[in-house]
Symmetry: C2
Subunit: 446 residues, 2 copies
Amino acid sequence: MSSLDFLFRPKTVALIGASHDERKLGGVILKNLLKFKGRLYPVNPKYDSLMGIKSYPSVDEVPEFIDLSLIMRPAEEIPALLKSHKGKARCAVVMSSGFSETGRGDIQDEIKKIGIETGVRILGPNCMGVYNPGERLDTLLLPAEKIGRPKKGNVGVVTQSGAILHCFFGIMKASNIGISKAATYGNAVDIDECDLYEYFSRDRRTDVVISYIESVGDGRRFLEAAKGLSGEKTLLILKAGKGSSGEAAAYSHTGRLAGRYEVFTSLLKQFGIKEVRDFDEMADAVKALSYQRPSKGNRVLIITNGGGSGVLAADECMRQGLEAPPLPPEKTARLKETFPPFYAIHNPLDLTAQVEDGDYLTALSELKDDFDGFVVIALAGVPGITEGLSAMIADFKKKTDRPIVFHTTCGCGEGKLISAFERSGIPVYPSPERAVRAMKALLGER
Amino acid sequence: MSSLDFLFRPKTVALIGASHDERKLGGVILKNLLKFKGRLYPVNPKYDSLMGIKSYPSVDEVPEFIDLSLIMRPAEEIPALLKSHKGKARCAVVMSSGFSETGRGDIQDEIKKIGIETGVRILGPNCMGVYNPGERLDTLLLPAEKIGRPKKGNVGVVTQSGAILHCFFGIMKASNIGISKAATYGNAVDIDECDLYEYFSRDRRTDVVISYIESVGDGRRFLEAAKGLSGEKTLLILKAGKGSSGEAAAYSHTGRLAGRYEVFTSLLKQFGIKEVRDFDEMADAVKALSYQRPSKGNRVLIITNGGGSGVLAADECMRQGLEAPPLPPEKTARLKETFPPFYAIHNPLDLTAQVEDGDYLTALSELKDDFDGFVVIALAGVPGITEGLSAMIADFKKKTDRPIVFHTTCGCGEGKLISAFERSGIPVYPSPERAVRAMKALLGER
């Protein structure tokens, strides 16, 4: 398998179907490409220049070899266009739709054949291409004014659906998660999730890969690529189409498709590949894993200032197969001496509504070597909780490599507290259960 | 069972342990009570007046019969204080902690006995009392400056834990959910969730009751009260302490406590009482049920402009036991004539990234009688989606009594679109799966 560097780090990019009109797809893409570090060649026979950049009438006229050609033209034109790339381009991203997803499997088969004949690698069709902030390469159909890009970071994105890339960008921005590179591969006539997993397994800027999959071509190859990536980084898979899509609904009573999904999910488990249950679990897990390194163990300490919140966290630990074991007796004795008599020195450790910031640090410092991970809960409406808490917990974090997640209420003006925690690399969740599920993601060994 | 009107609509309220110091609990409560519509009597032997209100040295000196007495004094003082309420007060809320939860079951037993002997009804101990915005009655230990109260509305809250009330307030404010009345009952020596369910089943301002429970006293009575309330309103129960709290963790391998929880949850199902799985499911369900009336059926139409999002929604329908059946053939034919050829006229109905606002209305109007509920998905980064979409969907909502929920991305500046939807009574969720689970809550018949 050759490297996909030409896809993520091209020196030369052409855009076939470029437009000067930002309301058109060829205009959206061109605008996003204006910041590209390398050399950009818009192709449109009607114009000499587009958005201030010299334009070319055809691929042939482009004055150098094209590493990456982006094609945004109607499906019917694609076969001829691709043929014109022979010897002229390394890789073509077919962004247009109108192939097997709308009943034109014939054109799709044709372009697959042309890819093999010409040696031009193909991403797509029916995809949004790639995003690599390191090269300022942005081929996406998403207008950057409307859909801001996440900051640079350590999360790679591999998604079959462009819509889900849009949604991933949303949660990454909302949760201050950084991106390394993203690729969407749509109908996957050539380059597919396996190629991309192999690429990301060697990408030094990426620690975590999130992947949305609807269908898999060669199951054996998929499992090997996913296992390979999972050995190097953390890979999180969200599998959609579990047997309930429009068409599948008709079959669902037979259990046939649902059965297939069960096979898929049990194979993932068997190969040690992590699957998330739904979009929200993906969002919560990737936030934790982009902020902190995964770790081992399953013994969790819950520290709270709200009894009920601690109990909900303990319930979720049980559901997630995490343990919340009692404190060591000598530590219990010592904390009982330190804390007021109405604090409940158990696990959950309940510091009650009369807590002060420093109590968290006291408890964590005392128990830092007795647990594998720390779920810290501070309902922020209580007088003794201040923004100073974040600095204390951040300080503690420097002294341990074990994961820490934080839950506080939302809707009561906790914005600053939450930001302060997240700036310190401690992910914040709006419920005890979500915080515990994030801990579970962190405590799964790779 | 007598009405709990004295608890929620007292004419006279005393606060034993009132303070002028807002940093003290007796000061927090007094400050919250300053807006109370009825007559307020602070009790504190050290002062003649507190926060500008005449204060009394003891319960005896209060110049009239007390409907509701709030007691915020150390646990040891409570028995004597309660005795002094005989013939003088109808109901006492013991807010202090320091009873069975900290090993002083002896004092708790004593106050239970005193309640029976004196005829004074007791709420608590170890609770935050009640909130009734209609009477501007706010006995909570939560400083209103730090924890704003939700707006007035149709949701009643019954919670054993004050911390969870705090969290409920957070989500109600964040989701623009209105509150009718709230009660916290802590250790429940007398008034418990059953009494409160009975009260709420007759409360005309309440349509939905959310209830957080850790323990239940008399199982049979609980099931009857919960069933009774479920027959009149929508009751949602969040049960904590499923066998994993600190103490319980030690027993968890025996499966004894987990087994008990399984009995509880299967009894709820058998009695037609709704249980939510976790805090987040409660938050999502109460939002939907406070905005819209529950309805019948299980056939859901999914309309989307993002293919992947539609598939995730369809997957969740399957998991939730909802159907996403195909469109009627004649409607499919008509929509195929109306819409561009690349729209996928199935269920999910995929209007693609080239959608315009009006397409949603076209589809919904055509299919309004063919489905029991509508999950509408609009990823907002697409050029054709504008804030005008909310007015269109709101217009459609006026023409149907079937539930509609909405999903859009977050983190990309959709704030205005979301607000516009929610002002129209259409709840918005940040993932397809959460939108579908909210639809499930709406489609459960009462």
